[in-house]
């Protein structure tokens, strides 16, 4: 493992979260398009998403989207200003903080519902 610093991990997480979002989007589009085969098919597919594992995955997707969005802003700042490059390390910690807070919020909304089975 190359011992890179913050920038390397910011890059890696950006790639992974981007990939996760892409997969989610594909799954989403395919699921929605199931309506072409009628409401019954559509509902059968969508009942699968009620499984806890998918609902838990929703928390991860929310985390991935927030990280990707916030780090995207960090990248824009770096690409357009020397100032952004100067503070890239600190900016990444802010990105992580926002992502963690947001993920905890989403988890606090989703997990009780999983527990209650609604």
């Amino acid at each position: 493992m190359y011992k890179g610093r913050e920038g390397q991990w910011a890059f890696l997480l950006h790639r992974l979260s981007g990939l996760a979002i892409l997969l989610y989007l594909l799954l989403h589009v395919i699921s929605i398009s199931m309506y072409m085969f009628g409401e019954a098919t559509y509902m059968r597919v969508h009942h699968v998403y009620d499984l806890s594992v998918f609902r838990f995955g929703l928390i991860l997707i929310a985390a991935g989207v927030m990280y990707h969005a916030m780090n995207g802003l960090r990248i824009i700042l770096m690409d357009f200003t020397g100032f952004g490059v100067g503070i890239q390390r600190q900016a990444w910690y802010v990105v992580l903080l926002i992502t963690v807070v947001w993920t905890l919020y989403v988890a606090s909304m989703v997990i009780p519902r999983i527990m209650a089975g609604v």
Partner: protein, 236 residues
């Protein structure tokens, strides 16, 4: 102090793949990693292969992956990579280039990228009667990029370069920066067009490994970003 030096060895005549070998070496905290490697080569195992030339951080021959980071063996002190007695340092060849033997890698792709950016002054029209003049302020623009010694620490620390050898890499872009921001050079447009190709600056994903690795403390990512902006604004 006694340290263990763990080296990733490869002999193309005997080995199918790389393997680790460990050498116990007596050294001082103020010794450099290069001194330790020389000791191993001269007194323990003469088959060890690595490049070194000036041994003073200028020729750029001895870039290696030391304790997980690209550094020059001649500029890295033992006390900065080993803590306490009987510590271990790991030495590997730089990544992304074909290993020929032990620490010796094929540098040709690296220098091909360097040559591709036209690393020479191109005059614009007839030469002046005397010198090409440049103000101190203008010279400052290329102060960092003209410090490069082409050691390949940056390019071989880049995650993009590891998986995409066609990317010209940070070192070549730093060299291009040196000429793009040289007020005397006449081929700025041509250079920016080279940087705008799909093997150029846009491959950079700002992982900052190059900046961390540079033994000359060149703010490489910052320079690459400057080139990106120059390419973008010339098209606007």
């Amino acid at each position: 102090m006694q340290i263990n030096v763990k080296i990733l060895r490869f002999d193309p005549d005997k080995d199918k793949k790389q393997h680790w070998e460990t050498y116990a070496v007596e050294c001082q905290p103020s010794d450099r990693v290069l001194d330790v490697l020389n000791h191993i080569k001269w007194y323990i195992d003469p088959t060890l292969g690595f490049r070194r030339s000036c041994a003073h951080g200028i020729c750029g021959s001895d870039a290696m992956l030391i304790n997980g980071r690209n550094r020059l063996a001649c500029k890295t002190l033992i006390r900065n990579v080993v803590t306490g007695n009987a510590g271990t340092i790991t030495v590997e060849p730089i990544r992304g280039l074909k290993v020929e033997k032990d620490m010796v890698v094929d540098m040709e792709p690296f220098f091909d990228a360097y040559r591709s950016i036209m690393p020479y002054f191109i005059a614009d029209g007839a030469p002046p009667a005397a010198e090409y003049l440049q103000s101190e302020h203008d010279a400052e623009r290329m102060a960092h990029s003209s410090n490069c010694i082409l050691c390949a620490c940056c390019t071989t620390s880049c995650p993009i370069f590891w998986v995409n050898g066609s990317y010209i890499g940070p070192a070549a872009i730093v060299q291009a920066h040196r000429f793009i921001f040289d007020t005397r050079d006449g081929a700025t447009q041509q250079r920016l067009n080279l940087m705008n190709q799909n093997t150029g600056v846009w491959r950079c994903r700002t992982a900052y490994n190059c900046t961390e690795a540079c033994p000359r403390d060149i703010p490489i990512t910052e320079l690459i970003e400057e080139v990106k902006r120059a390419v973008m604004y010339q098209q606007a």
